[in-house]
Amino acid sequence: MIIQKRNKITKVHWLLLLPLLICVSTPLVAAQSGTSANPFDTTLIVPDTAAVAAEPVTDLTVADHRYDHGEKLDLTWVPSADDPPVGGTVVGYRVYRIADGSEPVLVAELPPGTNHHTDEGTSADSSYVYFVTSVTTSAEYESARTEAIVPNVEWLNFDKKYLFLLALIVGGSVVIFIETARRGKKLFVRKIAGLEAVDDAVGRATEMGRPILFIPGILDMDDVQTLAGLTILGRISRVIADYDTRIFMPVSRSLVMTAGRETIKAAYQTAGRPDKYSDDMVTYVTDEQFGYVAAVDGIMVREKPATVFLLGAFFAESLILAETGNYIGAIQIAGTARPAQLPFFIAACDFTLIGEELFAASAYLSNEPKALGSLKGQDVGKAIAMAVIILGVVAVTIGEAWQVGIMNDLTDILRAIFSTM
């Protein structure tokens, strides 16, 4: 690695002498540069006996990049006079950076016709000078150097002001509603069919004397769907502890195993049955997607659980698991936020929590005012989305159909606010 770097520097250093050498001995340089200074791709080299000349680029300027922490600088220039759309001698440009007066370093090779570049390798505590060379098939020609510049560090990214605003409104209303609920105001939340069924599903397992199987998806703790699955697990295992039913949870990630154990243990403690809890309720199988599925399928047909929960992030295995669960006659409650897998759960499970309902489930099951309050906050976000869709569609339709300027302005504003950058 280190050796490579050094090589590069010496090569570049040597290249800088090229223009000078050309004056002295043109044929020699042409032959040399053909072998050692390799402009981009080998296919580009057209053997040539004389050095091909080109004008350097002009008006090279460097400016600070907006909203970075000093790691970027923007360069602009006017392309070489020998780089017209057709038939120029320039085959590309090279950008060189000189940091704090040290040796120039090649930072980019660009195709012809380019007039700008963003260097992403700077830091805020150095000063930089740049120059650009026009590369022909046999040599390169240096431009004037820029003024020295020290990159600025910005502390706030104002490009993301609308994102911040929306996060503030949506997040703020969640917090406000949680606070309202904490003060004791009653909040209404409609019934969610799949969640109404949880108690019955657990009760059924108790009656039948069969275990309950809980699958938290196949992703790790760094996915929010797994977290949603685990929070629901917390609520469900409270009920399970009360009913004194067996729960079994094979997992495909070690961290989920640890978190799953903590969750169930806590639920049993709260229910006053810590003696009933055992680490064997949660077991690790394998990280491999289909290896895990093979094992869970085996568990399903052998243990014949009465109730199966599939709550978390699922991929192609969704239907394999759900069909096997259906085959053994288990009541199945599934939920995922992966739209591609929802159809399969809808087809094979008794109840399916569709996307948002998965995240709302633990709040709903807890029946705690605070948690329910957060669902209200979500609805504010939905109301905003709905209002913007109506407003936007009306504005853009009127604006485009009848060329109404003010409506077009409104559309542009809405699109700008909801653009993610």
């Binding site: 791709d41 296919t43 580009l44 057209v46 759309p85 195709p111």
Partner: protein, 306 residues
Amino acid sequence: MANIGIIISLVIIFGGLLALLIRSVKSKEVDRRVIFLFIFVAVAAPILFPVTFSEKASPVVKAIFNKVESLPAGSKVLLSFDFDPAMAPEVQPMANAISRHCLYKGHKVIFMSLWATGQALLTQSLQDFILPGFPEKRNAVDWVNIGYKAGNEGVLNVIITDFRKMFPTDVNTVPLDSIKIFDDIKSCKDLDLVVSIGGGKPGPKEWILFVGDPGNVPIGVGTAAVVAPQLYPYYPAQVVGILGGVKGAAEYEYTLKETHSRFADMDTPGLRMMGPQTLAHVVIMSFIIIGNIIYIAGRRREKKRR
């Protein structure tokens, strides 16, 4: 032999389905293992005894076919293989079929790729599938492979004004200036048709946005099945036609075989793969119908009992 095999299998499949259909009126559920067996036979039989269904080309496929068909001999067509080995099973068949069609019609064909891994695939499919059928076609005169250049849509931005800037030479480092096809081609605007085959980025969409629209060049696209719906909004204003997945390839192959006797014995991987697909789809649809009959019959019975 193959014919007898497939006839027996078809009789078994459809006879079985009919029997189940009759049984379903009595509202008797089908064991899922029976369904599994049907699926297995429906997939395995056409693989063992290759069977092809007639694939009438849908308008979007027909449109590309007709475009290639109607261009006068000597027209300049560019085919871009914008895919990698992972995508190849789905789009390679259509790439082969279109390439053959273009060569057969006497078009001057330029092959290229926007994907680094596509160049090897392109060179190989030219060698193995496409060129062996056309020994009379000469490199640089009837076709040329200019290979891959890095830069994604940047490549397109350059070749819309000048090929030689991006591709000074073809894959064998022969300068474009000494390649006959390029005598009167300066940029993409001089082409009579561009077909981009791929499914990712850069791919068909980039060709439409960076070459088709600005240069007013007719663009045809071939793509993986999952991507196809996203390209439909561009039809017919911005693209000539769309081949979607193996099915699109099968339709193209079928039309090609029907239209030109030269291709009667052509290898048709698309059609071959559609055999098991079609049968499996038919089996699933039959079972949906059977399931509904069972449900309706069962409900009637319950009513009667009351």
